[in-house]
């Protein structure tokens, strides 16, 4: 019965469009060596600034054209997606684990735990995030793991604040009081009664955060602080595209479209998942 109803209500275009794009991008990133038509690093000055396939002068096999060094744009976007997704998943999950745990504790236990955690969050959020990220990567050194770490360190507060507020509301509910009367311990109640009710919000935030992580990674690679300069990243390609905007607009436009679609899909996917996870909305 549950399943039948899920299917009936399940045709939310939001979920399928967003999920479809993410799945496509993810699969392309995972199987990048198989799908990418060219070597993303192969330079060929004879093929520089080829236009995308529907314009005059396009070469077959270079669907979205090439950049000023003659590298295939589509292949670079696909390989850039690998880094984008790794950063998105790792950083968002790390931020989620730290932020949700602290938020749950602050919201459910209240009192001193709440005061301490909330003050830390307030102080944390006073830092301008992008500047903070750049600073962190500058200190930690460039590289995949420091980008992930920087994003997690900055963005756990997002989870903490939302989950704290939700846990606080939950802990005033009658079923929490009932569980206390029945003799459950505080931590047991937090995990069994409160946590399941904040999971939909955690899922939505997690997906949103993945989108944010993609943006931050793009920003960091735009200012050349992300991964080594050789690996293609979306931010890196955008930075290159900016320089040749008048000769080859496609080098700027395609990575931007990819980035926007991905970030938008993450946030929409999260919202749709939240509705799906919530037993009352379901």
């Amino acid at each position: 019965m549950d399943k039948a109803r899920m299917w009936r209500r399940g045709v939310s275009p939001r979920l399928w469009l967003a999920g479809g794009w993410l799945l496509l991008a993810l699969l392309a990133a995972i199987f990048a060596p198989l799908v990418a038509p060219q070597d993303p690093l192969a330079q060929d000055l004879m093929l520089e600034r080829l236009p995308p396939f529907w314009l005059d002068g396009a070469e077959p096999g270079y669907w979205l054209g090439t950049d000023s060094l003659g590298r295939d744009l589509l292949s670079r976007l696909i390989f850039g997606g690998r880094i984008a997704f790794i950063v998105a998943f790792a950083a968002a999950i790390a931020a989620c684990l730290v932020g949700s745990t602290l938020g749950l504790i602050a919201g459910y236990f209240g009192g001193w735990a709440d005061r301490i955690i909330s003050r830390i969050v307030d102080i944390w959020m006073a830092f301008p995030p992008v500047l903070f990220a750049i600073l962190l990567v500058a200190v930690l050194g460039t590289g995949l793991s420091s980008v992930i770490l920087a994003i997690a360190i900055i963005d756990w507060t997002r989870f903490c604040r939302v989950i704290r507020a939700e846990a606080m509301g939950q802990s005033r509910m009658d079923y929490v009081e009932n569980a206390r009367i029945a003799g459950y311990g505080r931590i047991g109640i937090m995990l069994r009664e409160v946590l399941p009710n904040v999971v939909p919000s955690i899922v939505a935030l997690l997906s949103l955060e993945m989108g944010i992580a993609v943006i931050v990674e793009a920003i960091l690679s735009f200012v050349n602080l992300s991964i080594s300069a050789d690996d293609p990243t979306w931010g890196g390609i955008i930075a290159e595209g900016r320089l040749s905007i008048h000769q080859a607009w496609w080098v700027l436009v395609f990575p931007l479209i990819t980035l926007i679609l991905t970030v938008l899909s993450f946030s929409q996917f999260g919202e749709a998942l939240k509705a799906r996870f919530d037993p009352v909305l379901r």
Binding site: D174, R180, I181, G183
Partner: protein, 292 residues
């Protein structure tokens, strides 16, 4: 034989020093239904919460004893107190809509407590729950056990909560206005169900309500509460036959009657309220002297 619940001289204050419970004493004998009646804000629910150990953190008990089957709750360590309360009491809550966890299915919610807190085997808990669902006249237990709370009506949820309250055979159930949030037609069924299960299981009930009609139907004894003070205590039949306190008389006067709907709805008399205020002030005065 010791009382199932024995409250002696219980006083509680808010942080600003205002008393919310004024030396409340009341006893519930095993298997007895004791009604606790009063206006909203009289402290009825507060007494229930105090017994169950879930008072809001702002309310502080400043004196008095509470004994559950002879065990002094104030003398137990917090953990032992929780275990005792968990094993011997249960709550039938006021609002069945918020008393069940919306993200968990009914079945696990009901058996969980038996298995985790009381250490029953899963099969025994399952059998027990089905038996109780049958007793509260739920005809399709399979569907109910698999449902999420929002898939059931308010009356069904209250039946589930009643079944859950009786499942572990507690000695005392606190029923906190269990019919207030329900439809009038459903109220009657639920009330009858509680009375029936109470008789069959021999459970003592502290029945909190503002409805004298409900008091007359279900309870053997009544405590009338005003501003956190018990103003009258009597056998239910005696109270209805001859209320002694003017406030009780006024409350009865304010109960709607089908035969004479308009004339019966009298607000409590000014003189009665003035008398009550004086009584409360006198009590507080007498209380403050030894307590500084």
């Amino acid at each position: 034989m010791s009382a199932c619940l024995d409250i002696v001289n219980l006083s509680a204050v808010l942080p600003n020093g205002q008393r919310v419970l004024r030396s409340v004493s009341l006893a519930v004998q095993p298997g007895e239904v004791r009604a606790l009646v009063g206006e909203s804000g009289a402290g009825k629910t507060m007494i229930g919460k105090a017994v169950l150990g879930v008072l809001p953190s702002s309310v502080r008990i400043v004196e008095g004893d509470m004994r559950l089957e002879g065990e002094d709750l104030g003398k137990l360590r917090p953990k032992a107190r929780r275990t005792l309360i968990g094993a011997r009491t249960a709550l039938i809550p006021q609002d069945p809509l918020t008393a069940l966890n919306p993200s968990r299915r009914i079945g696990p919610q009901m058996t969980d407590r038996l298995v985790r807190i009381l250490g029953w085997s899963a099969e025994r808990a399952d059998t027990r729950i089905r038996q109780l669902l049958d007793e509260v006249q739920i005809r399709d237990p399979e569907r109910v056990l698999k449902s999420y709370p929002h898939e059931l009506s308010g009356g069904m949820r209250q039946r589930v909560l009643i079944a859950a309250a009786f499942a572990a055979e507690p000695r005392l159930i606190v029923a906190d206005e269990p019919t207030t949030a329900l439809d009038v037609t459903v109220q009657k069924q639920i009330l009858r169900l509680i009375a029936q299960l109470q008789r069959e299981h021999g459970t003592a009930i502290l029945f909190v309500t503002h409805d004298l009609g409900v008091v007359a139907k279900i309870s053997q004894k009544v405590s009338v509460l005003y501003a956190g003070k018990v103003v009258e205590e009597a056998e239910t039949a005696a109270l209805f036959a001859a209320p002694r306190h003017p406030y009780t008389r006024a409350l009865m006067g304010a109960t709607p009657r089908y035969t004479d709907p308009f004339a019966s709805l009298k607000p409590v008399d000014e003189a009665v309220l003035a008398g009550l205020a004086a009584e409360i002030a006198a009590v507080d005065q007498a209380w403050r002297q030894p307590h500084g």
